[in-house]
């Protein structure tokens, strides 16, 4: 198993090179060279900015050398300075990252806490009216545009009822709070964004949990457990659930990319000071170094999340013997 884990971690290297290659291609997507992008139409890109972009990406050099240069910059996480305030991109990302991770972690917790009982109860009552209603509810959740759901939450809980704040993470007066109040305030401000963020994955994961539980209930050891006269609740919650929960670990691999994609929309709508909003603002302001930095870091985070889920699965499930 240690061998498997080592190999899985080593596989990150070619993946990183692949990611760098694709981002490199994106920079060069624009016709001409990247500094020409909408230059004529866009007064916001000054001659100086063009020069700096050229310099940053070494655009006067041959293409292979440019790629090597880009690789080198990615390895040391040097994405140059932002066009907006001339600060290093990586510093800007670093100060925004905690907010994104906090939002992601809380959303993930909500997703697991709600979707597991939902999926299990659906599976136990498979085919019943309850299961059918849940199925429709799950598809509805899956088909709901995240941004629209977020706006509805704001409209109802924020504007109409006035229960939750609709934007921001820390108001200026939060400085004067003691630790406990500060925590309470942040959680209160987290409520709506985290709810909006959870919805889509909630649907998918509860669906997954349902089929995993159904699969477990079909196994021979369940028949054995029933045959030896165990109580039904014990059969379901001890024998079946334990086994059905194993694959749920790898499910993080479905949630993490969704959370990171979602952060771009949710953070923008709720003015949450995270990396997603930084990326979106960078795009709207043609701040290319920041765009590339956020893109690469978001992708790295996804990759590491996926690998971590794979490794966890190998640790948790003794049946898995990768040669």
């Amino acid at each position: 198993m240690l061998g498997y884990i080592a190999r899985r971690i080593l596989l990150i290297v070619p993946m990183l090179i692949g990611i760098s290659l694709i981002t490199f291609v994106i920079i060069h997507l624009a016709p001409g060279d990247p500094t020409d992008i909408r230059y004529g139409l866009n007064p916001e890109i000054s001659e100086l900015a063009r020069e700096r972009l050229k310099e940053a990406y070494g655009l006067d050099k041959p293409i292979i050398e440019q790629f090597a240069l880009w690789l080198k910059r990615i390895v040391v996480l040097d994405f140059g300075n932002s066009f907006i305030d001339d600060r290093p991109v990586i510093a800007k990302i670093a100060e925004r990252l905690p907010a994104t991770l906090l939002l992601g972690a809380v959303s993930m917790l909500i997703i697991y806490l709600i979707s597991i009982p939902l999926g299990v109860s659906s599976a136990v009552k498979a085919g019943s009216p309850y299961d059918k209603i849940m199925t429709v509810a799950v598809f509805t959740g899956y088909a709901t545009p995240t941004f629209w759901f977020a706006l509805l939450l704001i409209m109802f809980f924020g504007v109409h009822l006035g229960w939750f704040p609709i934007s921001g993470m820390r108001p200026w007066y939060a400085e004067y709070y003691c630790f406990f109040d500060s925590l309470k305030d942040i959680l209160w401000r987290l409520a709506l964004p985290a709810a909006a963020m959870s919805l889509v994955s909630l649907a998918g994961i509860s669906r997954y949990m349902r089929s995993s539980m159904l699969e477990a209930l079909r196994q021979d050891y369940i028949r054995t457990a029933r045959a030896k006269g165990l109580k039904e609740s014990r059969v379901i919650y001890t024998h079946a659930l334990k086994n059905a929960l194993l694959p749920i670990v790898t499910i993080a691999s479905m949630i993490i990319p969704a959370l990171i994609s979602g952060s771009f929309i949710i953070e923008t709508i709720f003015a949450w000071p995270g990396m997603g909003r930084l990326g979106y603002e960078a795009i709207m302001n043609y701040d290319y170094p920041t765009v590339m930095g956020v893109g690469v870091i978001a992708t790295f985070l996804t990759l590491f999340g996926l690998v971590a889920a794979d490794v966890m699965y190998a640790v948790v499930d003794p049946r898995i013997r990768y040669d």
Binding site: M15, G18, P34, P145, F264, Y280
Partner: protein, 275 residues
């Protein structure tokens, strides 16, 4: 098949909604009650709530939201269809190559799939659009380019099992070319799961387009799209709820219907789920 559609309420509901949306897109010029493009800035026409005159109210420029949504359906549906078509082309070609030839071709293509899956789709699309510039055509191309991975995996898996079958050996013995075996003999047998996946992807593509338009990088104003109507609604969230509610419901219904159809067809085509 037609009898199945009538019997399965899920597929029936989905099909009715999709046909309805499709018709309103096609007949938008006949159904519209007002000119969706002409602004009317007079005070009595701006941000009017739903009424008999304006079914879904008017927006900040006094345009009729109902008529704009009809034209938005045209854009959303056509972006969805073309994006899925591009996706189908890439996913099919790469999936067939990987599944039919196996070996290093398969290895290389599957690594590419894994790498592409690491990119948070939405930001990858935003990033590419930032460099290419937002336009309807770019949105179609970029959605297609970033969402073919699932389909490629499905086609590959089908090919891996089908290529071991006797009819393939028979075709080979008759001297058929690789291309002919792959596309004339194996592919028709792999179409069912592809079709299921396509209905699902169409829903996902429409959802993506509306998100992009909402963020201002998709369909550009003054062209109407469900996403950019909601984007306007965001600024009047405390007063003009109709700008947000109705287009959102249209998106939800359309995407939900496609997902329900896809799920119903999957149940029909998957023998393991039959009772």
């Amino acid at each position: 098949m037609p009898r199945y559609i009538l019997k399965n309420r899920q597929v029936l509901f989905g099909s009715i909604v999709i046909v309805f949306m499709f018709c309103s897109a096609v007949f938008a010029p006949a159904l519209k009650t007002h000119d969706p493009y002409r602004p009317d800035l007079s005070v009595e026409e701006r941000l009017r709530p739903p009424s008999r005159e304006h079914f879904f109210g008017t927006d900040d420029l006094g345009r009729d939201v109902f008529s704009r949504m009809l034209y938005g359906a045209r854009i959303s549906l056509s972006v969805g269809f073309i994006a899925v078509f591009i996706m189908l082309f890439i996913g099919l070609v790469l999936g067939v190559l990987a599944g039919y030839y196996g070996g290093w071709v398969d290895g290389a293509i599957m690594r590419l799939v894994e790498i592409m899956m690491c990119f948070p789709t939405l930001f990858l699309i935003l990033m590419i659009l930032a460099f290419l510039g937002p336009s309807i055509v770019n949105v179609m191309i970029v959605i297609g380019l970033t969402s073919w991975m699932g389909l490629a995996r499905i086609v590959r898996a089908e090919f891996l099992s089908l290529r071991e079958r006797e009819f393939v050996a028979a075709a080979k013995a008759l001297g058929a070319s690789d291309m002919r075996i792959a596309f004339r003999h194996i592919l028709p047998n792999a179409l069912a799961p592809v079709f299921v996946s396509l209905t699902f992807s169409l829903g996902a593509a429409i959802l993506l387009e509306t998100s992009l338009s909402f963020l201002g990088l998709g369909v550009q104003i003054p062209a109407p799209s469900w996403g950019n109507i909601i984007s306007t609604g965001r600024f009047y969230i405390d007063s003009a709820w109709w700008l947000t509610l109705f287009p959102g419901l249209a998106i939800l219904l359309t995407v939900l219907s496609l997902y329900l159809i896809s799920d119903g067809l999957r149940a029909l085509l998957d023998p393991r789920l039959k009772r």
